[in-house]
Every structure is written in structure tokens, then in C-alpha cells.
């Protein structure tokens, strides 16, 4: 299946802003996160097609997955 992955802020460093990926059916967000060398603890926001997603959520064909890092300073 075809999935668009968008990265934001520091997640772009050494990676990409946007990439088109061919993934096996049933791939979940966690496996995409881990395949990018990111850890679960670094994840701030997961969005699937502009809506809030979960790590264990399975992706579908033509989904857009957006990942933002955790920001918590003041």
C-alpha cells in the first residue's frame, strides 16, 4: 500500500520533510516510527490524514502519516 509520511521539526534532521512509501498491508504507525530510527518516547503527535492517531493504529492505502516531536519547554 501507498503511504505519505510527513516529518516535522527535528524529525527532519538527516531524514526528509515528506516521503512516499510503499508499505506492506497492515503496517501500523509504530513500525513506521521505528523504521525511521525514532523512539516512541520522542513522539509528540501522530496524525493520520489530519486526525489524531495512535502508535498501534494500522495504516491504510493512500493515508498520510504526520509525525511531530514532543515539545515541552517553557
Amino acid at each position: 500500500m501507498h503511504v505519505t509520511v510527513k516529518l516535522f521539526a527535528t524529525f527532519r534532521n538527516g531524514r526528509f520533510k515528506i516521503a512516499e512509501k510503499e508499505l506492506p498491508e497492515g503496517t501500523d504507525c509504530r513500525s513506521v516510527v521505528l523504521s525511521l530510527g525514532l523512539t516512541e518516547e520522542e513522539i509528540g503527535i501522530i496524525m493520520i490524514n489530519g486526525r489524531h492517531g495512535e502508535l498501534e493504529q494500522e495504516l491504510s492505502n493512500n493515508d498520510t502519516l504526520s509525525l511531530f516531536p514532543l515539545v515541552g519547554g517553557g
Binding site: 516535522f8 521539526a9 527535528t10 516512541e40 518516547e41 520522542e42 513522539i43 509528540g44 503527535i45 501522530i46 496524525m47 489530519g50 486526525r51 489524531h52 502508535l55 511531530f68 516531536p69 514532543l70 515539545v71 515541552g72 519547554g73 517553557g74
Partner: protein, 283 residues
């Protein structure tokens, strides 16, 4: 009081009350600057120090700001700018909450920190700064960490709580306390070139949603630190939201988060719109 009002009216020129007249009235009648400013605004006299507010904030609205009490939780990077802007805007009462003292690593960005204030409590610096820039504003300085145990007391009588914390766990406690007290919360967070802002009204759970994947520890600020400009940007957006909540104007950042990337100069809006419960699922 009648005499004081008469004096203030006599001194008013072209609809504006000069600061020198506020000082003279305070001295002559033995009143605090806060009382004098209250008398002026309640009697339709517009303090000249707010004259550049005047075409966007009406005299009635300036009075509403003066009668407001805002809690600023955290007096560091975000909080320093938030307090500065609230005081200049003319918000009458600021509750400044922070347990810390200034340290050298604060100097690159925290507007209340100077070499002279190193070792000083951040809330005491806030009190002195506001007394310097707008003596009509009352500051209650609380040198303590905000937590569930003291939250209800600290938020008593407050119209809006401004999140200027640097800890996600304390932030979530603040969100809970605001929900329990029925107080709007303006949330801001920063890390390096990046920051975000959102506003939640009682009953909303945007802040809890923003940090729903959080388990422990800090965010990207741990590695990146924070520069001079990111807190100023995010704090200013937070104060604009406070102003709008108090005046009931404009569109709030409700059910949405503004995510700011100052490196690429990108702004993204992330929707936290609550999904309607589908009857099929509920059945």
C-alpha cells in the same frame, strides 16, 4: 474619593489622564496606584499610558482588563514575557508562580533575568519588574511549585491560567486543576526553534490530547535548549489569547494547536476537534 475623582477629571486633557496626575492623586490622597487607576477607569477617564491601546481596546474593555486576575504559572522563558505583556496591556492583577531562582543559563532568554538578579527568586524579579513598568498592576508573588495540592487555592478568583511551565507532568496537573476550577487555560510550550500554543476552555481536553503519548521526561528542549526569540514569540501568542478570552473577542485557538517552526518559518494548525460519537459504535 469624590475629591480624588474631581482632581483626576480636572487633570484629564483630550480624554487622556496623564501618569503625572495619577501619581499626584495617589500621593495627595494617600491611595495606591491600583486604586487611582480603578477610580479613573470606573469614571470613564482613560489613562494616557494606554492611549495606543485605545483604538483596539475600548475604555470599558480597558476597565475589564484592569479588573482581571490572571495566573502565570512559571516565570522563566515564557512567563517573563507573559508577565511583561500583561502588565503593559493593563491587566490589573497577576499571580506569578514559580519556585526557582535565576541561574546563569537563564540569561540567554529569560527577560526577568539579569546578572544582577542571579540568585534571586524569579517571582520577586517579576514583582519588581511590574512595579517598575506599571505600578497600577498588583502582583501576587508565589514562590512555590504549582501542583494539585495547592492548585485550587492559587487559582481562586483567577479568570485565566497561563501555562508557562517547563515540565509536561506539571502542565498536565495544571490542566486538571483548571478543569476542576472551571478556568480557561492558555497552553504554550517551546523547544529550540519550535513551539506551540493552544487554548482550552473548561471541559476541553486539548492539552491532555497534545501530551497523550507522553510517558516521562522532557521534549526536544532537552537537547536543543531554548534561544532568545522562541519564548518571546510563543508568550506573545499566549497573551493575545488571554486578551481575547478576557474581552470575548476574536477566534480562540480552541480545539486546535498552532505549531510554529521558526527554522523553516512554517506554521501548522493541528485540529483537536472532538469527533462526534457515532451512534453505531455507541450501540
Amino acid at each position: 474619593m469624590e475629591d480624588a475623582i474631581n482632581l483626576l477629571q480636572e487633570w484629564t486633557r483630550d480624554g487622556l489622564l496623564p501618569w503625572s496626575a495619577q501619581c499626584a492623586a495617589a500621593k495627595h490622597f494617600g491611595l495606591s496606584q491600583a486604586v487611582v487607576e480603578g477610580l479613573a477607569l470606573e469614571n470613564g477617564l482613560f489613562p494616557a499610558r494606554y492611549q495606543r491601546n485605545r483604538n483596539m481596546i475600548t475604555p470599558d474593555e480597558q476597565l475589564r482588563l484592569f479588573r482581571s486576575r490572571i495566573a502565570v504559572i512559571g516565570c522563566g522563558g515564557l512567563g517573563g514575557y507573559v508577565i511583561e505583556e500583561l502588565a503593559r496591556l493593563g491587566v490589573g492583577h497577576i499571580v506569578a508562580i514559580d519556585p526557582d531562582i535565576f541561574e546563569e543559563h537563564n540569561l540567554n532568554r529569560q527577560i526577568l533575568s539579569t546578572p544582577a538578579t542571579l540568585g534571586k527568586a524569579k517571582v520577586d524579579a517579576a514583582l519588581e519588574r511590574v512595579a517598575e513598568i506599571n505600578p497600577a498592576v498588583t502582583v501576587t508573588a508565589v514562590r512555590d511549585a504549582f501542583c494539585t495540592a495547592n492548585g485550587f487555592e492559587l487559582l481562586a478568583g483567577v479568570q485565566v491560567a497561563v501555562d508557562a511551565l517547563d515540565s509536561i507532568s506539571y502542565r498536565l496537573e495544571l490542566a486538571e486543576a483548571c478543569a476542576a476550577a472551571g478556568i480557561p487555560m492558555v497552553h504554550g510550550a517551546i523547544g529550540g526553534w519550535y513551539g506551540h500554543v493552544a487554548t482550552q476552555l473548561p471541559g476541553d481536553t486539548t492539552v491532555q490530547s497534545i501530551y497523550r503519548h507522553w510517558v516521562a521526561g522532557k521534549g526536544i528542549e532537552q537537547q536543543l535548549g531554548n534561544p532568545a526569540f522562541t519564548p518571546a514569540v510563543v508568550a506573545s501568542l499566549e497573551v493575545a489569547e488571554v486578551c481575547k478570552i478576557l474581552l470575548g473577542r476574536g477566534e480562540l485557538l480552541r480545539h486546535r494547536k498552532l505549531s510554529i517552526d521558526l527554522l523553516e518559518m512554517e506554521v501548522h494548525e493541528i485540529s483537536y476537534q472532538e469527533l462526534p460519537i457515532e451512534l453505531v459504535d455507541a450501540a
